[in-house]
Every structure is written in C-alpha cells, then in structure tokens.
Symmetry: C2
Subunit: 763 residues, 2 copies
C-alpha cells in the first residue's frame, strides 16, 4: 500500500532552511532578541505609537485587558490534571494558556510589569509541577498528555505558552530563563516529540500542532535542536505504520516524511483546500499560520508564506469561501455545525492573510464582523485599514477546489447563485484522512444561512462533558460517517468501500467536467469508479437560473452503470417540515428500522409510497422558504420517509428526516431530480407566496451510453432540456443528437435546450 502523495518538484523551503542551520545557532538561549514570534521589537514600537488612534485595535487591547485583569484579580490556579474536556481542570489549563498569551502581549504593548509578573508566576507554578507530573489519569487517547487527556491539548498549551514566554523572555532574569527552559519547556517539548513519536511524527493536524508548538518554543529558546526537530520530524522514532489513532486514522503510512514542513506539504491542495474539510482546516490553520508567522518574523529570509505558491494564504481564502451566507463552514466530513469564521482562532488567519497577502480589502469586512484583531503588526494593519474605510464586502463566488497535495485527488465544487444566496456543495474529494466520511459525489444545499439539504456533520458535542467526555460518540462511526447519512448513492445497503477506511483512503472521485463561466448556467460533473466494485456512478449537477423562474434550480442527474442488478438508495436529507407530496404515503403505525447496519439501523421508516412511473415530488418548508424536489421515478421505485434516531439510547443523534428513493433490481439506471426553492411564508404576516413548485414534471428523453437528456416541464408552460455528453467532456468536440424529433448540435459536455435560455441555438 502506498498512500504517499507525489513529492512536488519545487520544495523551495528546504534549501534556505538548511542554510540557516548550517550557520549554526547558539545552544544557549540568547536574550535581547525577543519578542520575535507574533510580536517583534519593531512591531511593538509601531503599535505603541498608534495606541489610542486605531479604534478596532484599541478595542482589542481593551478587551484583552479586561480579560487578563479579571483573571489576575481571581489569582492563579494550576490544578492537578484530572478531567476530560468540559471538566474543570481541562478548561482551567486551557484558560491559563489563553490568558498568559494575552498577558504577554499586553506587557509588550502597555509596558506594565504586572502582566510580566503574572506570566512569570504562572509559568513557575507549572515549572514546579511539571518535573513530577505523571501521564494524565484518563486513558482514552492513543497519546495521553500530562496536563490534558491527550497530547493534542498539551501541544496547544505549549504553543500559546511559547508566545507568552517570548513576550517576557528579555524581561526575565537569566536564572529564571535557565530554570524554565531546563525544567519546564525543554522537557515539555521532548515529551511531545521524542516521548510521543506516534503523535509528533504524523501527517495529521495533531502533528501540525505538535511541531508548531515545539518549533515555537525552540525559536524562543534559540534551541536549534528543537527547531530542526519541529521542521523535519524525528528520524529514528517513526510510529509503526498501519497502527490507528482514536479516530481510526493511520498513524503513518509507509515512506512518509514527518515534521512541520511535510505537514505543510501534504494536506493542502494547490488551491488551499485541506483534505480533512473546512471544519478541521479551521482548526489546523491556527498552528500553521502562527508558526509560519513566527518563522517569518524570526527567519524572514525563509519566505514561508510564499511556499508552494502562497499555499497558506490561499488556504485562508479557501476556508473563508467554504462557508454559507452566515460564515458557517460547510459540514463536510467530521464537522460540528455552527462553527464559523467568527471563531477567535480565525482572527489571526484573517489578519495574517490580509497583511502578508495582497491586502485584500474584502478580508477587512470579515475582520470587522469578527470584532477584534490580533495584537500584532498584522492586526494593527487591519485595524488601520478598517479605520480608513477600506473594507469591502466579502463576495463568495462559485469555485472549484482540488484535493490532494498535488491537486490530483478529486475536489470540492461550490456553485452559488446570488438569488437567495443559494449554494450547492459537491464533494468528489479523496477520503479526507481519519475525519473523512464515505460520501463520494454527495452534495448539500444552502439557501442563505439555512441548510436545506444537509450533510449531517459529526456526531459529537465538542467539549460538552456529559456527552461522552465531549469526544466523538459511537454514532459518529455508526451513523455520521456512513454513506446513508449523505446525499449520495448507496448500493445494496452497504457504505462506499464497504465502510473500510483502508480501502476508501486509496481512492478519490474524478472530475468529469465543469463550467462556471455563466452564473445562470453552472455545471459540474464527476465520476466515482471505486466505491462499489462493478458499479460506476457519474453525477452531474447543474445550477440554472431561468428567467421564467423566481429562483435558481438544481438539476441532478445520477447515471449509474453496472452489469449486475442491485438495490439502489438515494436519500435527500431535507431539513424542514413536509408540506405536500405527490404520492400515496403508507404511514407506519409502528416504526421499524430500515436496516441493521451501515447506518440503516439508525433510521426509522415513518412511511413509504409507490409513486406512479414518470415523476413525483415533495415540498417542504424551512426557515420561511418553500422547497420542492421533483424526482424521475421508475415503475418499481419506492419513496421512503425516514427519521433518524433508532438505536440511539443516549439521544446522541438529532431526529432529522430524510426521503429515500429506492430502486430495486436494476443494473444500469438513471436517477434524476430537480430541487427548487420557490416562495416564502411568514408567521407574522401569515402570507404564503408562491407555495407551489414551478416544475410540472421531468422525464428522460434520451438515454444512450453517449448521451443523457432530461426534460423539465414547467407548470407555467415551457420545457427545458438538459443534455449531458456522458463520455466526451472536451469543449472542442461537437455533438449532435435528436430530441423529440429535433436535431441539436453543440460543443462541450453540457447543453441546455429551451426558451428563453438558449434562443436561436437549436438546429
């Protein structure tokens, strides 16, 4: 098995780094060159000069001051480690490093010794505890920490404390520094690296935190051993391959590099997409950016931000774009709903991307909404630009993001239309490491800030102790990761790759064609060949804004090819309340589950109906908007109303609904549907506007290996036909087919027939 991604040809960062190391660092910690991580001597002088003149910066200083002064008033507590996340000792140690970091910054900016005293006192409390501190008593993690139940949190502590330490380093006596370095920081860094190679030496966000933390304390201590270890990993203590972590991810794969630079290389695609998805990208960005910023300040000649064609800055932009109208991240893979770019850790990302990037004024509007800036030069620059009125709206557009370190392992396409701020997220990525889900060619849909066809996200209540210690719940594996939890094809009630991570990790879907050149006619199409042996599925999504309709509609054509018969299930995880549907529903008076495994055991069957052949539909209401899905239906299709929540004694799952279209005993087949927002309702005005769908019915008018054509008839009259060239995606090729006796010619993989979109183009 070789999961290693190809090594890029221009590994630009290594050469200057080796040069730096060849010049040699002193092994004794030099004072008088701090701060040098986020803050610099010059930066601090500039900040002090501007105090009282830049509102958002002053406000951020004031907020930090309130926070820190309040903590100083309460006194320092460094409790004996005991709890999981959500428990007192866990939260207290988290709070300690947060307040220490802020206190350090305030010391530099306000020149008030009390902040340095506070940081010093806290560090010595930790110093006196650390020498004899055993492993954390909770034994759940594959790499138990000392202050926390997992090394990951210890790495968080070290990274933030490095910032605090950096701020007071020159102010401390040489004896203090010596004592802290020897008894606290060097052992702490060694524990996270040499003591836990299975944690430190991976390609994983855990290792990004670990290497950044060790690298940053190394920079503070001018300890080139730690810096080298951080950048390049540990040579001789690699974790065994094919061993898994708590989340089921491999600790490492054969032949894989380690260290911060390897972590920077692997998970980001050239488009700045992070393979685990935006929720984890948000988490991973912080150590990437904070250590990059420290390297930029401490070793400016490295040009870390220019690495891999500005990949870190691109990653920030990509992350900001993978959000709905409210700035909440699309829930791909393991992702907690509601996380947004207003989270504190992304203040740094936005400020850094602005300052070290091309001063994109649209980032300023996000910074404004974040309501605070980083207490460093980049934050000052952002606050100044905002004060000068330079902020521009952050406009999100349709984009395609490749996955894989070389951009050749599938991707994510986001199609947007400005009417209703509609967004469709189409996922044809690689597996996404241990946080990946088995959901090849799935999609989700947002209308403004409202998710109307959902990706379930993760099954976890992060940091809520009463829910499994705040950690992943069993239902994450049994439901959230399974294919049936997503809006994509399930064959024979088994998840993609039979739910096997080892196999899923080998594969990715392939982009077939994409055209976002016309906002009113956007197309993306991808193929999955590996999820089920002997079954290929090819899905095309088209986002069409027809002048005859109030809203943009989504056309979905899923072309399944197989030589053998299967049971196919295609769920729509709609959110909202059902208003009407176009078939008889046999409601269940006793609820049984839809299956016994692969996630089906969590679904109750609320009812089912046999639609008449042709097409059928259902309409639902969500957030004051009506939505309808019109399905192409076969003779023996079943439409199943399902409800989540079976086999969930602890109420770990939401009681969300799904409508599953089931087709039995087909070999090759076509699923198709049109999803349309159409109208609105307000309980205050009690006015229902445009409550009925615009689509009358849909039908397949061409179905050959080479071409698939779907006809959409509108209630107000008129017909539109979407033609897909199934085998030839090139824009150069000319196609010709007959539809309903009319011959059409066109170039390219997608063709839309029908007034008023394509006047005069036919024949």
């Amino acid at each position: 098995m070789n999961l290693r991604y190809a090594v890029p040809t221009k590994f630009t960062l290594v050469a200057p780094l080796l040069l730096v190391f060849s010049l040699g660092f002193s092994n004794t910690a030099l004072a008088q060159d701090h701060p040098k991580l986020l803050l610099t001597k010059a930066g601090v002088l500039d900040i002090r000069r501007h105090l009282g003149q830049v509102p958002l910066f002053d406000q951020s200083v004031a907020e930090a001051k309130r926070f820190v002064d309040d903590e100083i008033a309460q006194g320092i507590d460094v409790p004996k480690p005991k709890d999981f996340s959500g428990g007192y000792t866990h939260e207290k140690h988290k709070r300690n490093y947060a307040v220490a970091q802020q206190a350090g910054a305030l010391f530099q900016i306000l020149e008030d010794d009390k902040y340095a005293q506070f940081v010093r006192a806290m560090l010595f409390e930790y110093e006196s505890m650390y020498a004899t501190l055993p492993l954390h008593p909770k034994e759940r993690s594959y790499s138990r920490g000392k202050l926390f139940w997992q090394c990951l949190n210890d790495a968080n502590w070290l990274l933030h404390m490095a910032l605090a330490y950096d701020a007071i380093y020159d102010w401390l006596s040489p004896e203090d520094r010596e004592q802290l370095n020897r008894n606290l920081f060097r052992p702490f860094a060694d524990f996270l690296s040499l003591g836990n190679p299975q944690f430190f030496n991976r390609i994983h966000n855990h290792s990004t935190w670990a290497t950044a933390a060790v690298g940053m304390i190394g920079l503070v201590m001018n300890d080139d051993v730690l810096i080298k270890r951080a950048l390049f990993g540990i040579d001789d203590q690699l974790p065994a391959s094919n061993v898994k972590d708590d989340d089921g991810g491999f600790l490492r794969v054969e032949g894989q590099k380690a260290g911060f630079l390897a972590n920077l290389e692997e998970p980001f695609s050239p488009d700045g997409y992070f393979t685990e998805g935006p929720y984890y990208q948000r988490y991973a960005m912080y150590p990437f950016l904070v250590f990059a910023l420290a390297l930029e300040n401490a070793m400016p000649t490295l040009g870390v931000f220019q690495y891999k064609d500005d990949v870190l800055l691109k990653a920030v932009s990509t992350l900001m774009n993978l959000t709905d109208t409210d700035g909440e991240f699309f829930a791909m893979n393991d992702a907690q709903k509601g996380m947004s770019y207003f989270t504190r850790s992304l203040i740094l990302a936005v400020d850094v991307a602005y300052y070290y990037g091309d001063k994109d004024p649209s980032l300023l509007s996000i910074a404004e909404q974040q309501g605070g800036v980083l207490l460093d030069e980049s934050g000052l620059a952002v606050a100044k630009a905002i004060a000068h009125g330079e902020a521009k709206p952050f406009v999100k557009t349709s984009r395609n993001y490749s996955d894989g370190s070389n951009g050749n392992r599938g991707g994510v396409a986001v199609m947007r239309h400005e009417v209703g701020d509609l967004a469709v997220v189409f996922k044809y990525t690689a597996h996404g490491l241990s946080h990946g889900h088995f959901d090849k060619l799935s999609y989700s849909m947002f209308f403004g800030g409202t998710e109307v066809i959902q990706d379930y996200g993760l099954a976890r209540f992060v940091n809520i102790g009463a829910k499994g210690g705040g950690n992943y719940l069993p239902e994450n594996a049994s439901w959230a990761k399974q294919t049936i939890a997503h809006n994509t094809l399930i064959v024979d009630q088994s998840s993609h790759f039979d739910g096997q991570y080892e196999i899923g990790s080998l594969h990715h879907s392939e982009l077939y064609a994409l055209d976002f050149s016309n906002t009113d006619r956007q197309f993306v199409s991808a193929i999955e060949r590996n999820a089920y042996p002997g079954v290929l599925f090819h899905r095309t999504l088209a986002l069409i804004k027809d002048p005859a309709l109030s809203d943009a509609i989504l056309i979905d054509v899923l072309n399944v090819r197989s030589d053998t018969e299967h049971r196919y299930d295609l769920p729509t995880h709609y959110l909202g309340q059902i208003i009407s549907f176009g078939f008889e529903n046999e409601a269940s008076s006793q609820l049984v589950t839809l299956g016994h495994d692969s996630g089906y055991q969590h679904l109750f069957v609320e009812g089912h109906g046999k639609p008449s052949a042709g097409s059928s539909y259902f309409t639902w209401l969500n957030g004051g908007r009506f939505f309808s899905q019109t399905f192409l239906t076969g003779d023996d299709d079943l439409l199943i109303f399902a409800r989540l929540g079976a086999n969930d004694p602890d109420f770990n799952l939401r009681r969300d609904p799904a409508l599953i279209q089931r087709r039995e005993g087909s070999a090759g087949t076509i699923f198709a549907s049109v999803v349309e927002p159409h109208g609105h309702y307000s309980p205050v005005s009690e006015l229902a506007v445009n409550a009925s769908r615009s689509v009358q019915d849909i039908s397949l008018v061409v179905n050959t290996p080479a071409y698939t054509a779907l006809s959409i008839k509108l209630r107000e009259g008129g017909e539109r036909i979407l033609v897909i060239a199934n085998t030839e995606p090139s824009n150069q090729i000319e196609h010709k087919i007959d539809v309903n006796g009319v011959a059409y010619r066109w170039r390219g993989p997608f063709f839309l027939v029908g007034e008023p979109l394509m006047p005069g183009k036919a024949r």
Copy 2:
C-alpha cells in the same frame, strides 16, 4: 345550560347611543362629511401640514405609495372566486382590499386623483360582479362567503373597503355613490348579517369582524339601519343554540345578546385579556379597534374607548405583555407560533393605544420596531413623538390577567425574571370558546425569545393551501387541543372534561394565591376541581432567583387529591436535544404509540426508564443554553421519552419530544420538579460553561393535608425548602410547622426556608 356571563352593572355605552339614534339619521347618504372613519377632515389637514417633517410618518406614506403605485401599474384584477386560502383568487381579493384602503388614504393625504380613480375603478369592478355572484364554490364553511370560502374573509373585505370608500366618498358623484351603495355595499352588508345570522349574531371573533364591517359601511353610507344592526345584532334571526361551527364552537348560547357591543362586553376581562388567548386577541383587536376608532371619530360623544374602564386600551397593553422577548405571542389555545406584535394589523393597535390612551412612551419603542405607523392622526402623533426622542423601552413585568367578562373565570399568570429574560406562563383560565384547549393548570417556559418548555400551539399552516386549504387540520382536534399536548396532569389517559367542549366550557380553574411582590420570589397557585370527576389538582409554581445560582429556577408542586386510584401522566414538552439523564433508558428498537386516543395515538415511545425512588433528572440543550429538570420520583414511576408524529400520514405535526412522568395506582399524590436554566454553549467558541445542573436532588419533607414542603438540595451545598399552606391562602393567617425538627412560623400561603434567601426568619 347557562353559559351567559353576568351582565355588568354599568353598561355605559348604550344610553348615549340610543340618544344618537333617537335623533335620527337621514336614510340618504350625506356627502361632504367624509372621511370620518380613520381619517377625518381635520386630521387630514393636520397630516398634510406635517408632510416631510416626521420621518416615520413620511416613510409609512412612501411605503404605502410604493405598494399602491406598483399595484396601479399592474392593473386591477377582480377574479371569479374559486380558491381556498393560499390560492390565487383568495389572495388576490385580500390584496385588493389592502391596496384599496391604502390608495384611499393616499388620496386624502397626497390629494392625487389617480388614487381615487383607482379605488373607484376597483369598486365598480366588484359592483358589476356582485349582483350575480353566487356562494363561493368551496363548501367547507358553516357560513360560506361569496368572494371567499368563508364569510369571515368577506367581512374583512367589507371592513377595509369601507375605509377605501370613505376616503373617496365625497369625491365620487352622487350617481356613483348611489350605484355602489345600492348594488354593492348594502347587499354585501345584508348578506353578511341578515343572510348569515349564524355568523353575524354570535359572541365570537367572527361576529366582531362582521359587525365592525357592517357598522363601518353603515357609517360611510350614513345608514342607521346598518349601524344599529352592527351595534346590537339582529333580533329575530338568532342562530339556533347548540349548533356548532367549523371549529367545534357553539354558534350561540341561550339568552345571549348579539352585535358589536355584546362582543365588546363578553370576551374581554376587566384586565383586557381576551378569552380565546393572545393569538386570537391579536386577530380580534383589529376590528374592535378600527370600528371603535371610527365610532370615536364619527360619534365622539360615545366615548367608546372609555367603555368598561378603558377595556380596549387595556387589551392592547395586555396583548403586548403576553409575548416573549422577541414580541412573539405565548401560544395559548389555538395559536400559530411566530406571530408577534410586529404584524401589520397591530400597528393600528399600538398607535391607537398610544394616542387615545395615556401616551405611554414605551409603546413608541414597539412602534419604532414595527417600522411603520397608521396613516391617520394617531400614527402622526406616534411618529412625531418618536421623532422627538420620546420612545422608552417596553419593559414586560410579571402580571396576572383575569379571564371572563367580569374577571371571575380564572386567568393567566405570567412570571418573569430579568436574568435571561425568563418567562413562565401559567394558564388557569376558562375554556377559551371554540379555540380553547383542554389544558387546565398547564404552563410553558421561555428563555429570552426561545420557548424551552412548549405549548404546542395549533395544528394548522395558516394560509398554506397545500395543508388542508390553509385551515385547521384534523390533528388540531386529535392532538393540539388534547391535554397530553400540554404541560399538565392527565388522569387515566383521558383529556380534561373527557375532551368535551360542552362540559369544559362550563368550568374554569380557580386562583388559590399569588404573590409577585418580590421579583426574586414569585408565587402563583391555582386549583382545578372539575377536569376529572373525583380528582382535584392544585398546582403551585414558584419562580425563585437564589443568589447562589446563576439563573432563576422554577419550582413546580402539583398536589393531586383523589379517593380512588388512577394512572397519572405529567408531561414536560421540552424543546431541544437531550444531553443527559439520571436513569437507565430502555430504548425502543421498534416504536409503538403510547395509546389509542386522546392525543396519545400521536406519540411514539422512544424509550422509558424506572428512576430510583427519590429524585431523578434530565438535561437538555436548546439555543445554546442548558436546562435541567429534577423530578420528585416515586417507587413505581416511569419516565417515558415520547416523540410526536404517530398516525400523522401527511406530516401535519412537528416531530417534537416530550418526557412524561407516569405514576400508576396512586390516589392522592404529589408531583414536584425544579426546572433550571444553567449555562451555555456556543458552536463557534466550542466552550461549554456550567453544563451541569445546580440542583442535587429534591425531596418531600412535609406532606399533610394542610402543608406540603419540598426540599431542594444544591450541588454546591445548601438546602432550600418551599412550604405551601394547602388550605389557607390568606396572608393574615399565621402558620407553624416542623421541618426536619426545626419549627417555622410565618404568615401567608408560601414560605421559603434556607440561606441566603430568608436569613433570620426561621424559628
């Protein structure tokens, strides 16, 4: 059966009215005295003088102008009546009267003839249609209209068109007036009254609309026959008693008066509470106020706003108070969630209450949020006061509202605490006419704008045609009205009064005692003697803010007295996701219903557990806040996790949860619990604060016929004891009991023991 409320001693309005009529109106319509309903000649002059000087008024004029100009540009359409609510013809006729009314006002204010022309043209379209217009083709209503499927909507039309007609009356030629009066308005008014006595002659919001509409067109036409008919009803065409309407309400009861004045007399209590509840009060207020305003303008000597001690103005204040933080009405009886005092029809209510009341500046802040004012003198006054900066916040306080026209048929108590904007709504009213629910002594709880223990409200999607024509759904009777849908006691799985409206309408609960004098210790207690023969239940709710706790808590003691054994169910209709619970849950892998009727047929049993005797709890998360309920549990109690949605093939019900405490085979018994909000969670910060409950356990420390004492032990240490004197509510009586060997003496029905709330009071 005699449901007639006692006649008030001072029926002040009748005498001057009779005087007016004795002076005699001309039967020919006088011109040159219009407008006189909402607008007056003097008022219009004043408005014109202020144009361009009062921002909110100018803005309201501009908005009306945009709306009307847009409609004028589209042209007039008066379609042949065909649809239910939500359908085109229904919505178009609604829109027509709305735009005509606004056009009339604009004609008066802006003196632009095009608006008068528009109203005239539309009225003549209706005139030419009306002579031959049959009954509406939809046959569902007990009183079918002509333009709409029910007379109620026709009455709406007439009321608004009377305003439009009033505005252009003097501008029209005598021939036009004659033609409209003869062919359209008089027949329209006769149809709604003489033609539909079963609709016109009731005590019901339908008849309020009907009489107001007929009275207003009578005022415009100076037609004293119509005015008299509106005010006093039809003598000789009373509907038969004991016949019911579509909603199951009686058309009339023996000996009952009719007409607008009787409708004004009966449904409002002296506190301004409307017996059907705030959702219908919101609907009913409009015709009450608009006709009252017209009477005030046309017959100012009547003093209609002073009637029954200013009951109409009080009713506005009461209505504004029966809302959560977001201004949404508490969902008592039939009520659609989300309706708020920002609905357009309440702009009039707020402006009138301000102008004709005591110029309460807190109403101005609501008017500001409504974003518009009435285009009359009251609206001008409100807009002026806002422009002068006179608006004050509308502060909602704990209040008790009596029910019944004399205030002696139970009531509603609202307890509020400013921490978290907590509100508890305790319902001990009369039945509430045909929109009442079988829910004696039920409560609901709000935290800020979030309902955390819910009243389900109605089962209806108002004006959404696809849901049963937008009308009441079968599940309204089978679920929403049933007792199990509410947070109150169900005996032997049968609703209060066996679900019989005829019996329920005879009774009301009784207030036992109430004390809101200390915001941190609020008590209300009421008794229900009639819901179940042989069972009395006495419920006490206490809202306590203890300095040891972050939030106010609700203590609920439900004392059930009976000589025979029963099955008791007490549901908590919590909203949110369960975080944890203190007992073993036997989750059901197949879901069956909890029962076969009385609403139980709509509940699936998701699981159940037997708590150990003493106390148990569950915690849930809603809107980023944690809530816990700690129950007093008996030896054989069952805690049932229920989920709504069984026997609901059309998905007319929400899939909401409930936790039901079941106690079998008890005669007299005590249910008690503490509900506490405690802490918060944000998916953006991922911080969980105070996620565990503050209450450790609760226990019954005294239980005699005379006294009940509940001990509450806190997790942080400390005990509080609530003592209730069960039989003697007077504040004068001194009580003395022994609790845990300590003797306490106090006066009054409620006594709270325990530091730090009552230091030094014991012994």
